[in-house]
């Protein structure tokens, strides 16, 4: 496998192999010196056309754990400001001799486009509303770690599904692994068509919460709200937010997850994020291990998932 662009590139077997490999990197993180020499001499560049704290830092840490060199490209301080095209930017970066491009862009499909231009491996770190495969992988890893697996598990994904690349990748990954997924959102925050999505839909969070093993809250994406889809954020919180009262409806073992950054007091009550069954910081920690596994698989293992 050369690129990681979509969860659907992996399939069930590929996802499981990656999660197994992640176990090894979780162990590496616990060592006195949490660094292995596997990718010495490899050059990984992050090309982020959108803001990000955790994903960019997570990839950078993951690459450094493998002893790869990292370069950072942030649009605000680059020649993109002078009007350089995406293709010229990518070709310039590639000319410096790089092995992997980690790309985030506001437009769906950009990672595929870049993969067609370069010899380097391309990892999709989020493209528009489309996909965010490494987020889905770290979510899967966290659920497997906490609940032991996906068979017969019920997962509710709550909130702004329409604008969420996390939701798209998560639905693909969770269902590939055998979980059943319910989307919970007001009709205006669902995609115009859910044809072909292997999911149930509900508009009543209070009815769904007592039945699920995982409640996955999506961030209310204020920056992507191009039209008035909600009367107000307060009304959203009242009908769909995981308030303290609603959290009591959850089963004792049910996990609370969120991709971050959280809007405390909107989709998640401030104190819910600190509940014992909230695994939000665990997700972040696992993110580094999962991304190390992805980088090792693409750049170091020489192994092919699909032969």
């Amino acid at each position: 496998m050369r690129h990681l662009l979509s969860i659907s590139d992996l399939g069930r077997e590929g996802i499981e192999e990656l999660l197994d490999l992640t176990d090894s990197f979780v162990e590496v993180a616990e060592r006195r010196i949490p660094k292995v020499p596997a990718l010495r001499g490899k050059n990984v560049v992050s090309l982020f056309y959108e803001d990000s704290t955790r994903t960019r830092l997570s990839f950078e840490t993951a690459a450094k754990r493998l002893s790869a060199d990292t370069m950072n490209f942030s649009v605000s301080t680059s020649s993109v400001k002078k009007g350089e095209s995406l293709k010229d930017t990518v070709e310039t970066i590639e000319a410096m001799g790089i092995d992997c491009i980690v790309v985030r862009h506001g437009s769906a499909g950009v990672p595929w486009q870049i993969a067609s231009w370069v010899d380097a491996s391309v990892i999709n770190a989020g493209d528009g509303w489309h996909e965010h495969p490494t987020q889905a992988l770290l979510d899967c890893y966290t659920i497997r770690q906490e609940l032991g697996g996906f068979t017969d598990k019920r997962i509710a994904i709550v909130g702004d599904v329409k604008h969420s690349r996390v939701a798209r990748s998560d639905v693909l990954a969770f269902t590939a692994l055998g979980a059943s997924v319910t989307l919970v959102a007001p009709p205006t925050l669902l995609p115009p068509s859910l044809e072909g999505w292997p999911v149930d839909v509900s508009h009543d969070i209070d009815e769904v919460l007592p039945k699920v093993d995982v409640v996955y809250l999506l961030r209310m994406q204020k920056e992507r709200q191009t039209e008035a889809l909600l009367p107000s954020l307060r009304e959203y919180t009242a009908t769909y937010g995981l308030t303290r009262d609603r959290a009591r409806l959850l089963q004792e073992h049910a996990l609370v997850m969120h991709p971050g950054p959280m809007n405390r007091g909107v989709e998640i009550a401030a104190e819910v994020a600190d509940l014992p069954r909230s695994v939000i910081t665990r997700q972040v920690a696992n993110g580094v291990a999962v991304r190390s596994a992805v980088l090792f698989l693409l750049l170091g293992s020489g192994s092919d998932l699909h032969v």
Binding site: L21, S24, K35, V36, P37, A38, F296, G300, S301
Partner: protein, 192 residues
Amino acid sequence: MAERERRTTPPYGGVFVPRTRIMDAEAVRRAITRIAHEVIERNAGLEDVVVVGLQTGGVPLARQLADELERIEGTEVPVGTLDVAFYRDDIGLRPVMPEAVTNIPVDLGARVVVLVDDVLFTGRTIRAAMDALTDFGRPRAIQLAVMIDRGHRELPIRPDFVGKNLPTRRDEAVDVHEDGVDLGDMVKGARR
């Protein structure tokens, strides 16, 4: 390639086909008993000794060695397992994937590590293992125990404890398993 098949396929490809039985299970057991006595003699007891088996062939031998050490001295010896995939020097030249998660149960600082593997060949795995071990602390010493030393070293590494020295041709293969040790060949396309 299916996962199972990749796992059993060594660096040079193919499937192991045995030709000669070199040691039977009883001979392996006796060798472990002797090595256990040598380990105790060398270290004047078992203080600070940790046994670490290399994935995958060294792991069962490390367990057996530790059991034998405990039987003789009556003290418990920590046992770990080590996978050196991320330390190999042939990453990028052949498929490299960890077989299992490394598990080192104690800090190795100031310990005596007895590293256990089934077959010592080029020495490259041991080189990788020594790099890996030092990421868990600074051992006072690392000693190497192998069931078979088959020669053909490519690095300046020699074992401290040997089950059996076995002269081989470079293209032969040695397999250590629960019924003993076989000398044979890697055959492409053959079925075990």
